[in-house]
């Protein structure tokens, strides 16, 4: 059958992909980009987690990054330069636990987190009655909120800086609020020394408007008026409302501009968050100076800051070459902190 070839073969068309800007066109800041990949073979759920993390890092990440077993860290590093990739999120797995490494390219530092617990986005969606997934949810980078990191410890500070810079900075003067659709929360618990990693979607809805009217405006559907005597009943008759629906005064904002059809600048809007997932509970284990190599700045198990050759038991290294310590200590500090942080 090979003889009868389709003569109307489509000519090869180079896919014209819009090149992502490496610099924000308004503020002129460099946009951080990231790779999420794994070292070693991951079991199914962790592979799913990797996909979830990629989605979380959108839009400035490689969603369909192909990795082979042959690829080593250097391959990714070589690609990262021309592509302007600034951060690596590396998932790995040992018998004791899965690990997440967050590294800055090309010179580090690398934070190693042990994943104590995790739930996938699918699990979260399954646990919810009405999981929410608007179309353009992942078109804009998330906000990041870091909480509880202000204990003054050096390694926490470094963690803060690292995570603040993993997403593009927000300029309060120019940001369009409709682009703020998601939020990533990192909460440090002082007692347990664990970091809670959560991912929420942000939704705004007008305050002091009955549920019926809100739905009517949102859905554009003809409401069911069978049980009503008069049209005015639709407006005046109070719909059912639950306690939890009551708007928290603290969670209301007034907007500078109109946001969609429903949220007007003139009246107040309530901020509603709904979890998207993934959900992680992390434990900071180690900070290395280089990219998965170099001296250990901080180690949860050992006395940190002293030994260069210090290695934690449950951690494998790609290569153990010691770099100059001074090289990246400057690199970490010159990153100005943006984003929203609070205590």
């Amino acid at each position: 059958m090979a003889r009868f070839r389709n003569n109307k073969r489509k000519p090869f068309v180079r896919q014209i992909t819009k090149k992502q800007p490496s610099v924000d066109h308004i503020t002129g800041d460099k946009i951080p980009k990231s790779f999420v990949f794994s070292r070693g073979k991951l079991p199914g759920p962790l592979r799913q987690l990797q996909m979830d993390l990629r989605k979380l890092m959108l839009p400035f990440t490689a969603l369909k990054l192909k990795e082979k077993r042959r690829n080593n860290l250097k391959d990714f590093l070589n690609v990262s330069g021309p592509m302007g990739v600034t951060h690596f999120l590396i998932l790995s797995k040992t018998d004791s636990a899965p690990y997440l490494r967050v590294a800055r390219t090309p010179q580090g530092p690398t934070l190693t987190f042990k994943i104590i617990e995790y739930s996938l986005a699918a699990d979260i969606a399954q646990s919810q009655l009405r999981p929410r997934s608007p179309q353009d949810l992942f078109k804009n980078p998330p906000l990041i909120v870091l909480s509880g990191f202000g204990t003054g410890e050096q390694h926490l500070k470094l963690t803060t800086i690292m995570f603040q810079n993993i997403f593009p900075a927000i300029d309060v003067n120019t940001v369009n609020l409709s682009s703020c659709q998601r939020i990533v929360l990192l909460n440090y618990n002082k007692e347990t020394k664990l970091i809670d990693f959560r991912h929420y979607s942000i939704r705004l809805q007008p305050v002091d408007v009955s549920r019926r009217i809100r739905k009517f405006v949102q859905n554009h559907q003809v409401p069911d008026l069978r049980n009503l005597q008069d049209v005015s009943d639709f407006v005046t008759k109070a719909g059912y409302g639950s306690e939890s629906e009551a708007d928290d005064e603290a969670a209301t904002v007034s907007l500078a501009t109109d946001l969609g059809r429903v949220n007007r600048a003139s009246n107040k809007s309530a901020v509603k968050l709904q979890e998207i997932g993934p959900r992680l509970t992390l434990q900071l284990i180690k900070i290395e100076e280089g990219l998965c190599s170099g001296g250990v700045i901080f180690s949860e198990y050992g006395n940190h800051g002293s030994g260069k050759k210090q290695k934690t038991d449950d951690e494998e290294h790609e290569n153990e070459d010691n770099k100059d310590e001074e090289q990246e200590s400057e690199e970490e500090e010159d990153e100005n902190d943006d984003g929203v942080e609070e205590d």
């Binding site: 995790y118 646990s127 940001v175 928290d248 209301t252 500078a256 200590s329 929203v340 942080e341």
Partner: protein, 289 residues
Amino acid sequence: MMPQGVQKKVNIDKRMKKLFQKRAREYNSDDDDVEEEEEKLEQSVPSTRDKIKKDEFEKEFSDDDDGTEDNGAEENDVSEDEDGKIQPGIMKFTEGIKAFSVAFKKIVKKTASTDVLGPVLSAHKKLLAEKLVEEELERKDKGEAKKEKHSVREKGHVKPANYLDSHEKYLLGIATKGVVKLFNAVNKAQSAQKGLNPSRSKDEKVIKKRRKEAFFSELGKAASQSTGTVAKVGASSSSVDGEGPAWAPMRDNYMLTNSKLKDWDKMQDTMVGDDIRRPAYSGSSSDDE
């Protein structure tokens, strides 16, 4: 081949027909033919013996079905046929019944063994049991290994609860607070530049000017009002100071605690507008801790 088979079948059919006819006759006239029966009994003593042997044989193979018995009967009949006394393929119905009934009774009487293995040849019983036990163990091992593997794979994987527990609520609260803070800051910043298009150069100048003013007013307020908080920030980061970078602008508390720069607003012309722009609001929103 086919026609031969058909012929044979026909033959058998004929024989069977006769047999059935005879049996039917005997059955119908049971009482009349008692004498005949007795005569025939004498003739067929050897055959009954054979049958007894067969019964013994059947004892051993208790799950023999009647088919084999029929075959045996037919063979016997054939041998009798050679004597010429009984027609080929015909056996006395009562005798056949007797042998069959004996065998059948034995089978029925036999209580089914409660053994899991069921009625199996005794020689094989042991072997089979061993094999089964082995299989069971193997399966168990396999299951355990699989379970272990699964647990390793799923390590740390937790299904979330359907409700929001207190911890999740707390986290949600924090996140909400953060969002509210940011939105308020944005509102504050953007309401100032309402009606101006940042992409137009004419408006841009105005915006820049306003921002500058807003920034300076904000800073001034912070310096005068909340010296306490600034001091606190300084105190909290003072321990850090020793390890911080040598170059002053790289430190976090640059310009906040430095007494030399206290009167910075009097030397504002030395600053570059661009540098000031962003940290202004993000700083106010972020460093409220």
